[in-house]
Symmetry: C2
Amino acid sequence: MGDRWTLLVLRELFYGQTRFEQFVGVLSIPRTTLADRLDKLVGAGIVTREVYQREPTRHEYVLTEKGRDFFPVMAAINAWGDKWAVDDAGVPVVLTHTTCGAQMEPVVVCSECHEPVSADDLKASIGPGYPEHLRERRAVAARFSEADVDGR
Amino acid sequence: MGDRWTLLVLRELFYGQTRFEQFVGVLSIPRTTLADRLDKLVGAGIVTREVYQREPTRHEYVLTEKGRDFFPVMAAINAWGDKWAVDDAGVPVVLTHTTCGAQMEPVVVCSECHEPVSADDLKASIGPGYPEHLRERRAVAARFSEADVDGR
């Protein structure tokens, strides 16, 4: 997903910003950098460029389904930043969950038991799509030595 | 958090790898790049460098609490990749939640109502720590114009 600017642009898209000039105004991002990052996001299928005005033609940038699905990543980065990168002034942005009305923080839970998950509670195993040419490497075999191969 | 290599090194740390040579073996990362990224992670307080052997001195790299707290971000990136960047072969890595024993996927839920959260259900408001010098910008004001300032 690339660099810091890409993440900042994505964050603005999630906050509902869609226009080149809005990104420039909020982020103070150099115009050439912004154009480059938007091109990359469009190329990756994360953002689409849509015409919202003709004569002169103007575009806006909208998250695709693939892009909207990136939201949990942004939410997790936000929560991490709120805990570790915030000074005494408090959090820069507050999130409200509109369906329940509460100020909230994103929490990662297990899809099966619905309890919060931490790194200590997870075991990674080689899945069916693990690249064949990496599977045979000694370092890879060692990494998963205590795991069930193929997740069985 | 930086670039692709940084995220790959972090992923290995979450999978329990701790040693320079292990990272090289699994990732095929150039040694100078790896040294640089580990230095940056140490500098950011995400990783500590600890001696595990003397004569010759050898170090291992261990996630700090700040680093371990980054786990939800990694989990969310994994889930996104499994959905959007996987071919017919299937997922490369399977996660097992050791406390419940199930193969699982990370799900982001609201801390208050515990329901899954998507970008459509969130409203961002200016928090108490929003930088003063940005607060007065017209673009910023417009961005939050429909939100409650200070999250009230």
